[in-house]
């Protein structure tokens, strides 16, 4: 049992080292997983800044607009779904696997191994595609109204 707790603590340490996501999504991998493994390791849960943020009126309207459709889930469907989702029953070996996988992901193992080169990173049809996307996420403000229009009309 203690080895599982130790493993969970190690995962929390690895996850805490991850940089924040470049783009703010509704759910954050880092935060949900830190919570999950902190609980498993018996550590105190951290209060997230974002969690206390009240939803604005626009957010609520948006959610209502989107959930107006058929949302009633049937009980048997929920049960079926729960049965398919794996539970947290870790053994010493499986927690080691988890740590190994996380380390591989952090170390960029597969990206380095299956190197695709500039053929795909600077695609011939649209060489600046990924760089522009990343600049936009990081808020570098390289885009002006006219470059945006150009993309709309010419596709790149």
């Amino acid at each position: 049992m203690s080895t599982i707790k130790e493993g969970a603590k190690q995962i929390v340490r690895l996850l805490e080292k991850l940089p924040d996501e470049r783009f703010k999504h509704l759910i954050s991998f880092k935060e949900t997983q830190i919570d999950r493994f902190r609980r498993m390791a018996g550590l105190q849960l951290k209060e997230h800044k974002e969690a206390n943020k009240n939803a604005s009126l626009d957010d609520i309207k948006d959610i209502i607009k989107r959930t107006k459709g058929p949302l009633g889930l049937k009980k048997d469907v929920l049960q079926k779904l729960r049965a398919t989702i794996p539970q947290d029953n870790y053994t010493e070996q499986t927690i080691k696997q988890q740590i190994g996988s996380l380390e591989n992901l952090i170390a960029n193992k597969h990206m380095k191994y299956y190197e695709v080169g500039d053929k795909l990173y600077q695609p011939a049809g649209n060489p600046k595609y990924y760089q522009r996307l990343l600049d936009e996420i990081q808020g570098k403000k390289n885009e002006t109204f006219f470059t945006a229009l150009r993309t709309v009309f010419f596709g790149k």
Binding site: Q33, R66, T67, L71, K80, L81, H110, V116, A124, L134
Partner: protein
């Protein structure tokens, strides 16, 4: 504008996943002839024909989802073929542009969608076993859609590397076909009778597609961890109890497919010579010698074909075979 639409997507993604569950167990039960067809089709190589067996047999005509022209048994009458060839050569039509429909819209879509295709009371295909049994994804319509767009995105990445005019067209055809097919499936297989609800679903799926392509693109360009979180949000619908080994397996799967795609020349890819590597197989990297030999073989083959007068006007292509 980009940001707001993407933020909306992430709400949408989880909701759409839930709402579609409702339709999950109502999935179609097929007639017994399907399993025979599956057995037959296993003997054949992967082709569009395999898809034919999944067609609901309720006597209805399917305009697009199961077109008779996509069946391998279908043969174009000789006179139609000659007329076609004549028109192509007389008007000097750009075959690379025309080919986008049958290759991206038909063939590439068929290999994307069959990865996660499953019907209740039917044995799972090999790739479906990977997604539903190994990764333990729920067997729902929206999950099938997520699996399909993951594969489509991999093809988009390769299509961007084609000359812009053609790559864009290939992408467009693939997307058009996807939504045409989903619309039909919602009506015929999920038994949604209201056009309004189908439209709602289609809009949801459209936002999901945009969000997924954005997230995967970011992950592909930056690092494995970002790609893994993108996979977690989209394919795994942000499930809390995620197994990291599953995430790693999917990242590896994606990177290996992209590796295969990058080793293909534009010509081969545009002619529809690509197949996804089955998830239970491992892609080994090519050694420099192997890669050189492979490229030489390919360029020899197409050079010979281009120089000979034996190929039909409809088989011509101006795309590069050396890159």
């Amino acid at each position: 504008m980009l940001k707001s639409s993407l933020r909306r997507w992430s709400i949408n993604n989880s909701i759409a996943t839930k709402t579609n569950l409702r339709n999950g167990p109502r999935q179609l039960v097929l007639s017994h002839s399907y399993s025979q067809q599956v057995q037959n089709s296993r003997k054949k190589e992967t082709n569009i024909q395999e898809d034919h067996g999944n067609a609901p047999k309720n006597g209805k005509k399917f305009a697009l989802a199961y077109s008779k022209y996509e069946s391998k048994d279908y043969k174009l009458p000789k006179w139609k073929e000659s007329l076609g060839e004549f028109v192509i050569s007389a008007f000097k039509l750009d075959m690379d542009k025309i080919r986008a429909g049958p290759v991206a819209g038909s063939y590439y879509y068929s290999i994307c969608k069959e990865q996660g295709l499953q019907y209740e009371n039917e044995p799972l295909s090999e790739s479906a076993k990977y997604f539903y049994s190994y990764l333990k994804l729920p067997k729902t319509f929206s999950q099938w859609f997520q699996i399909t767009i993951l594969h489509e995105w991999m093809l988009f990445v390769r299509m961007r590397a084609m000359p812009f005019k053609y790559g864009r067209n290939y992408q467009q055809k693939l997307v058009d076909r996807t939504f045409g097919d989903i619309e039909l499936r919602l009506f015929e297989e999920m038994n949604v009778h209201s056009g309004r609800i189908v439209d709602q679903y289609l809009k949801d799926f459209n936002t999901q597609l945009k969000g997924a392509v954005f997230a995967y693109d970011e992950g592909f360009y930056t690092d494995d961890m970002t790609l893994a979180t993108a996979v977690w949000r989209n394919l795994f619908a942000g499930r809390k109890n995620i197994n990291f080994s599953h995430l790693e397996a999917v990242v590896r799967y994606i990177r290996s497919q992209l590796y295969v795609l990058t080793k293909m020349s534009d010509r081969e890819f545009a002619l529809g010579n690509f197949k996804f590597v089955p998830p239970n197989e491992i892609v080994n990297k090519l050694t420099p010698v192997e890669e050189k030999n492979m490229k030489q073989e390919v360029s020899m083959k197409y050079k010979k074909l281009d120089e000979s007068n034996l190929i039909l006007p409809s088989e011509r292509s101006s795309l590069s075979y050396t890159n």
